[in-house]
């Protein structure tokens, strides 16, 4: 099933940031979002993940199919790597965590408390969560932050494997992942600034 976005307008803090966003993401496809800081990449991804409503437009094929990974990894420092991952696997009702641990080279760290991991290791743990969700559409916000070159390659391999199995990925990133992916520059959808409707205006 294709994830399709049409005429999407989104606001951040009441100010319109993007308008008329349209793209389609077919199974097996990856789409890389680019654009300068503040253009609204994160807001767009959160909207597609269902964390905030769009101000206009349509998102089709996203319901219960998205695995979202934002700036924070949702890792509990007092749980071990294995416990963190097992928790997400059981929330999503997916299978074992062995493949996910292997894909991001976390086997040796499995019994360590997540609070003792380095920033890059935490990110790898956060990304390995995607593999245990069993969801077809990965929505990733700056997934390679604090990853070293080897870990970026691991991540690119994981994305390729996911695409081969008929999944798709929507990735906001500034670096080249070496993926065979289309690129969408969000700068062309930049919203024209307009005065914000302040409903408290009369009262204040």
């Amino acid at each position: 099933m294709t994830l399709s976005v049409s005429d999407l307008s989104i606001t951040r803090g009441g100010v319109p940031v993007l308008q008329g966003v349209r793209f389609a993401l077919a199974p097996g496809q990856a789409l890389v979002l680019r654009g300068p800081n503040g253009i609204g990449k994160t807001t767009l991804l959160r909207t597609i993940a269902g964390l905030q409503p769009p101000s206009a437009g349509q998102i089709d094929g996203a319901e219960d199919r998205i695995a979202y990974a934002g700036h924070s990894d949702g890792i509990k420092p007092t749980l071990t790597v294995r416990e963190n991952l097992t928790f997400w696997a059981s929330v999503f009702g997916a299978g074992g965590i062995g493949d996910a641990l292997r894909a991001f080279d976390l086997d040796d760290l499995a019994e360590r408390h997540a609070g003792n991991l380095s920033a890059g290791q935490k990110r790898r743990l956060g990304l390995s969560r995607l593999l245990v969700t069993g969801r077809p559409v990965w929505v990733l916000d700056e997934p390679t932050v604090s990853l070293d070159v080897a870990a970026v390659a691991m991540f690119a391999d994981a994305v390729r494997g996911h695409l081969r199995q008929g999944g798709s990925a929507l990735i906001a990133t500034h670096i080249d992942l070496g993926l065979d992916a289309e690129t969408l520059d969000l700068a062309m959808f930049r919203a024209t600034p307009r005065p914000v409707d302040d409903f408290d205006g009369d009262f204040l």
Binding site: G70, G74, K76, V91
Partner: protein
């Protein structure tokens, strides 16, 4: 859902999880009351049900600001909101975990502390019954307050101000059950009202909590 409950319980019992905070506070308050009001056992027996209930209510408040804020800070809440669990279930489980780690220990500790306050003998069973009936409401109302203040830094003060008035009916009827029980009066009216409050909050507030959480996650 079970996984979320088990994770929350595990987090609470691990180092820094905050388990025992409410219990310790409850212990401190009830131990100090006889020192502050004086050792007359008849006076202590009169105020014991009220003091125990007030202590339990304040102890329940203590851990509320961590209830959702920790999950919000580390991004877990975003991920849970996109997970197959409905947010209503998430907040219900969170309230249940809060009750197990805070409310239930208070219920179990209350009879022991009742001895310190010279609680009359018939009052013990009613104290436990009233706390067992009333504390789930405190957790559910507290979760609602935590959902309202989830994005705020240092939202603890606002949280207390929002939650305390909502807890007043539970306090009134809960303490009344314990008081009437202690002096051997009929307790069924306040107990039914207390149970009604708990049933209504458990049934309705998770929907309100989930709704405000959706707004706060934007």
């Amino acid at each position: 859902m079970i996984a979320l409950l088990l994770r929350d319980l595990k987090l609470a019992f691990r180092a820094g999880g905050g388990f025992g905070l409410g219990l310790a506070f409850f212990l401190i308050v009830t131990v100090l009351v006889p020192f502050s009001v004086g050792p007359q056992s008849s006076l202590l027996a009169t105020i014991a049900p009220g003091v125990l209930w007030l202590g339990a209510l304040l102890a329940c408040l203590l851990s509320l600001d961590r209830l959702l804020a920790l999950d919000w800070e580390d991004g877990s809440l975003d991920l849970l909101a996109t997970a197959p669990l409905p947010l209503e279930a998430v907040v219900t489980i969170k309230a249940l975990a809060h009750w197990i780690t805070t409310g239930l220990p208070l219920v179990l500790a209350a009879p022991v502390l009742g001895v310190l306050l010279n609680l009359p003998l018939p009052g013990f069973s009613w104290l436990v019954i009233s706390l067992l009936t009333g504390t789930p409401a405190l957790s559910v109302i507290g979760t609602f307050g935590a959902a309202l203040t989830v994005g705020l830094k240092r939202g603890g003060l606002l949280l207390s101000l929002l939650v305390l008035p909502l807890n007043v009916p539970t306090l009134i009827f809960g303490a009344e059950v314990a008081r009437r029980g202690a002096v051997g009066m009929e307790t069924s009216t306040p107990l039914l009202l207390l149970a009604g409050i708990t049933a209504a909050t458990v049934a309705l507030l998770p929907f309100a909590s989930a709704a405000v959480l959706r707004v706060n996650l934007r």
